[in-house]
């Protein structure tokens, strides 16, 4: 094992949990090759990569899910909490184990495309499975935020999850009864939404995903919205009408969101809000 202490994987995982992760797993870096094109594979980012440590956590709370304003959950989407755990894991792998460790940047490699799919990393690390709505859901915790560290350390790899959280039993029943599920009903691709799919033999099969439309919802007051209004404003010859666009609520909210970037990135949760596997619906007082 190239001088790696026998308890290295256990130590890294214990550190991640102590630092605030709800779950932690390890994926084989080579396993990405079958699913992701270059340059979105671990070894494209860190030559010699052997494994990928994935941490998950920072889930919204029950109160966030039932908030009556959609804007509340977007400001609760604090992905940076789990990113801090990822950075800590990377630091420990280098300082205590002596192997290269690359914290996967949460930003984009080009346009809206990430450096590495964190959802694929979570799946390959055995922490969850892709849902009909899209996000990877963990069986115990449901929807979570993810962070990943690519490393040259040959840590022990976890097997993929064999029993996915999606479809949840109520969704299977709804499919049998109504031919749809909560997520497909709230955001159907064939009626102005983003999602298409079915339940086939008890398993969720996603058939369609309109990422461009999803971007208008997940990033309403964000980079795309800013560009669209700016384009409209630049094309508007009348100064007063231009002012209405640039000083209006949409542009103002967008600039607030962008300047509070790390806490207001995800802005649409409606397919997961209705998902029994994403957060359940615990009785609260």
């Amino acid at each position: 094992m190239s001088g790696l202490p026998v308890d290295a994987t256990r130590r890294v995982k214990a550190l991640a949990l102590t630092a605030g992760a709800a779950v932690v797993g390890v994926a084989d870096a080579a396993a990405f090759d079958a699913h992701a094109p270059a340059p979105h594979r671990p070894a494209d980012l860190l030559p010699g990569a052997r494994t990928v440590v994935v941490v998950g956590g920072a889930q919204p709370r029950a109160g966030d899910w039932v908030a009556a304003s959609p804007w509340l959950l977007s400001t609760m989407g604090t992905t940076e909490r789990i990113q801090g755990v990822g950075r800590r894991v990377a630091q420990v792998i280098e300082s205590e184990l002596g192997y290269y460790a690359l914290f996967v940047p949460p930003g984009t490699a080009s346009g809206d495309a990430p450096f590495l799919s964190l959802m694929l990393a979570a799946e390959l690390a055995g922490l969850g499975a892709r849902s009909l709505a899209g996000p990877v859901l963990n069986r115990e915790h449901g929807f979570m935020y993810w962070s990943a560290v690519i490393t040259t350390a040959p840590l022990e790899v976890d097997p993929p999850e064999t029993a996915p959280a999606c479809p949840a039993p109520p969704c299977r029943e709804m499919w049998e009864r109504d031919g749809t599920t909560p997520c497909l009903r709230v955001c159907p691709a064939d009626a102005g939404g983003c999602l298409g799919g079915r339940i086939d033999g008890g398993r969720a099969v996603r058939t369609t995903y309109d990422a461009a439309r999803c971007a208008t919802r997940v990033h309403t007051h964000w980079v795309g919205g800013f560009q669209k209004v700016l384009e409209e404003a630049l094309s508007e010859p009348d100064r007063e009408r231009r002012k209405m666009l640039l000083y209006g609520d949409f542009m103002t909210r967008t600039l607030w969101a962008i300047t509070y970037s790390s806490t207001n990135v995800a802005q649409c949760f409606e397919c997961l809000r209705v998902c029994p596997a994403a957060h359940g619906l615990r009785e609260m007082r």
Binding site: H35, P37, A38, P39, H40, W65, V66, A67, A68, S69, P70, L73, S110, G111, D112, A113, V186, C187, G192, G193, V205, R206, T207, T208, Y209, D210, A211, A212, R213, A215, T216, R217, T220, G224, G225, Q227, K228, V229, E231, E232, F250, Q267, C268, E270, R273, V274, L281
Partner: protein, 93 residues
């Protein structure tokens, strides 16, 4: 070296094909191709494909779709709060 500007004619010619091959509209039967893979298939250079994809992703829907997004979320969120909290008066009108 000059700033890279995508030729609008090149964009118009390849926009639909690049979007179809990329990950922007996902279907179950195939994974989206990377910019490099699309470039090889269409006989373009990778930088041009990246620019076409990025512009096209933003160009897919008009500004009105952003307004629809706001209304969609407002309604879906209110309806869920009404159901989950058993407070029918919270439903959107």
């Amino acid at each position: 070296m000059t700033f890279f500007r995508l030729d609008p004619e090149v964009y118009a010619r390849h926009k639909d094909e690049v979007l179809r091959l990329s990950n922007s509209f996902q279907t179950i039967e195939r994974r989206g191709l990377s910019d490099r893979e699309i470039a090889e298939r269409l006989g373009l250079d990778e930088r041009t494909v990246t620019e076409i994809r990025v512009v096209a992703e933003r160009d897919c829907y008009p500004l009105d779709e952003w307004e629809r997004a706001i209304e969609f979320k407002r309604k879906a969120c209110a309806d869920w709060a009404a159901l989950a909290l058993k407070r029918p008066e919270l439903r959107s009108p």
